[in-house]
């Protein structure tokens, strides 16, 4: 870890009074803040969950980290350096990114998808293919069976596994995940969540994970940040989160009430 510019804390990602607003002055109304003066740190090796309803600003917050969105106020610091100081291409290759529906390249094979960042980084082909095979095994796919397939020949769960393998291929220290399991059926989702939480612990990556599913947040997070209308309304580790007396936390807690007749 380089700590030249961040002497006081070893935070991998820091949000310092970050605001992101869309300028709507041309349409006559005020500019609207999607992210409103947010500050928080993500420490090395933790899985931070950004929880919130649709439109709470959680995805924007994620996209601020790899400079897909540029803050209109404040700064995002990644590994001691503001994102505005990073070459965006270098920054993004240093950060794995997994999205809903995986976003796999349909004209590439599974192996080519997984090996994309290493290819862009100019690794030699033997190293790429061994790394690709290693990554596929890591996410539970047999390289012999899957490497040569195209994304359309995979199930939703398999595609999402390939998406995770692709994000991890160049061994980035940071992983951003935007509702990666959101489009899966409940059984497959639970399966991937279990495997992913084991994987996350083992790999020691710094992970920022966006979800609207409080169950998923409690299961995977080492810390949960709850967002509402572009602001943080609660922060707590999973075992304390549900005790917080805050209306939005209560609203999410209420969504956990078991169905009548269910044994758990």
């Amino acid at each position: 870890m380089n700590s030249k510019t961040a002497p006081e804390i070893q935070a991998t990602i820091q949000f310092r009074n970050v605001t992101y607003s869309i300028d709507r002055s041309h349409s006559g109304s005020q500019s609207r803040a999607i992210v409103d003066d947010i500050s928080f740190d993500v420490s090395h090796g933790e899985t931070l969950i950004l929880l919130g309803r649709s439109g709470s600003g959680k995805t924007t917050l994620l996209r601020l980290i790899n400079n897909l969105v540029v803050p209109t106020g404040g700064q995002v610091v990644v590994e001691g350096r503001a994102t505005s100081q990073w070459d965006p291409i270098r920054l993004r290759r240093n950060i794995g990114y997994v999205i809903q529906e995986a976003g796999l390249f349909p004209h590439f094979t599974v192996a080519q998808n997984v090996g994309l960042v290493p290819t862009l980084e100019g690794w030699d082909s033997t190293r790429i293919s061994s790394r690709t095979a290693e990554m596929l095994l890591l996410v539970g796919l047999d390289p012999g069976e899957f490497a040569a397939r195209r994304p359309h020949e995979l199930s939703g769960g398999q595609r999402q596994r390939v998406g995770v393998a692709r994000a991890l291929a160049a061994d980035p220290p940071i992983l951003l995940m935007d509702e990666p399991f959101g489009a899966l059926d409940p059984v497959t989702r639970a399966e991937l969540q279990r495997e992913f939480s084991a994987l996350a612990r083992r790999l020691g990556k710094t992970i920022v994970f966006v979800t609207h599913d409080v169950r998923e947040a409690l299961l995977l997070g080492s810390r949960i940040v709850l967002l509402q209308s572009g602001r943080i309304v609660a922060t707590a580790p999973p075992d304390q989160f549900l005790q917080i007396e805050q209306p939005e936390v209560r609203a999410f807690a209420a969504s956990l009430v078991p169905v009548p007749g269910a044994s758990a």
């Binding site: 790899n66 897909l68 965006p88 291409i89 270098r90 920054l91 993004r92 290759r93 240093n94 950060i95 990114y97 999205i99 809903q100 529906e101 995986a102 976003g103 796999l104 390249f105 349909p106 004209h107 994309l116 960042v117 862009l120 195209r150 359309h152 692709r166 951003l176």
Partner: protein, 210 residues
């Protein structure tokens, strides 16, 4: 004279005209692709330019072909009588389908794929060459296929300005009121169009990403 006797007696002449026709089409298509595809790639992220380019290309498409050939004759350098003028007119006709399909193909890609490409640290040039272009290729080829078929048809009219090709027979046949002579131009032109359609259609299906 029956068409079949005419065909047999003039087979060398018909073959020569067919090759001349084909060469008009091939040259015009190569130029149209060389202009249309890069232009489509260039305007895809520039809405103002895109509208201008598509607008101009559409205008050419609406001009009746005989009129367009006529308009080009008095223009210096590109105009006059003969092959060169005909090729210019054919290029102008072929441009719209190629340009439009290139643009549509490049802009109708799943946003999640483009977002992933950007998030993984691909440069704009890499996204264009390795993601957008290969994914748009079947679309672009469909445009080239349409343009080729239009060009084979329009090229028959090029004979009116002395460019040769299969149109020579058609115009001669009309003047002579001879079905046999007209068919000697029309049938090979139709065969060319059908063969081009089949070959390019096959290529398009091979390049399509499931």
């Amino acid at each position: 004279m029956s068409p079949s006797t005419f065909f047999v007696e003039h087979r060398a002449e018909i073959l020569e005209a067919t090759l001349a026709h084909l060469s008009l089409v091939v040259v015009a298509m190569l130029i149209a692709v060389a202009i249309g595809v890069p232009l489509g790639m260039f305007v895809v992220q520039r809405p103002a330019l895109r509208n201008i380019a598509l607008g101009i290309a559409s205008v050419f498409q609406t001009i009746p072909s005989l009129a367009l050939f006529g308009f080009l004759i008095p223009i210096p350098f590109i105009g006059g009588i003969g092959r060169r003028t005909a090729i210019v007119a054919l290029v102008l006709y072929a441009l719209l389908p190629i340009l439009r399909n290139t643009y549509v193909g490049l802009s109708s890609i799943d946003p999640a794929v483009l977002q992933a490409a950007e998030a993984m640290g691909m440069t704009n040039a890499q996204i264009l060459c390795r993601v957008r272009f290969p994914l748009a290729l079947a679309f672009i080829l469909a445009g080239i296929r349409t343009a080729t078929i239009i060009t084979i048809g329009v090229a028959t009219i090029a004979a009116a300005i002395g460019a040769g090709g299969l149109g020579t027979f058609i115009f001669r046949g009309v003047a002579m009121v001879s079905d046999a002579v007209i068919l000697a131009g029309a049938i090979p032109a139709a065969v060319l169009a059908i063969v081009a359609d089949i070959l390019l259609g096959w290529l398009e299906r091979r390049l399509r990403v499931a």
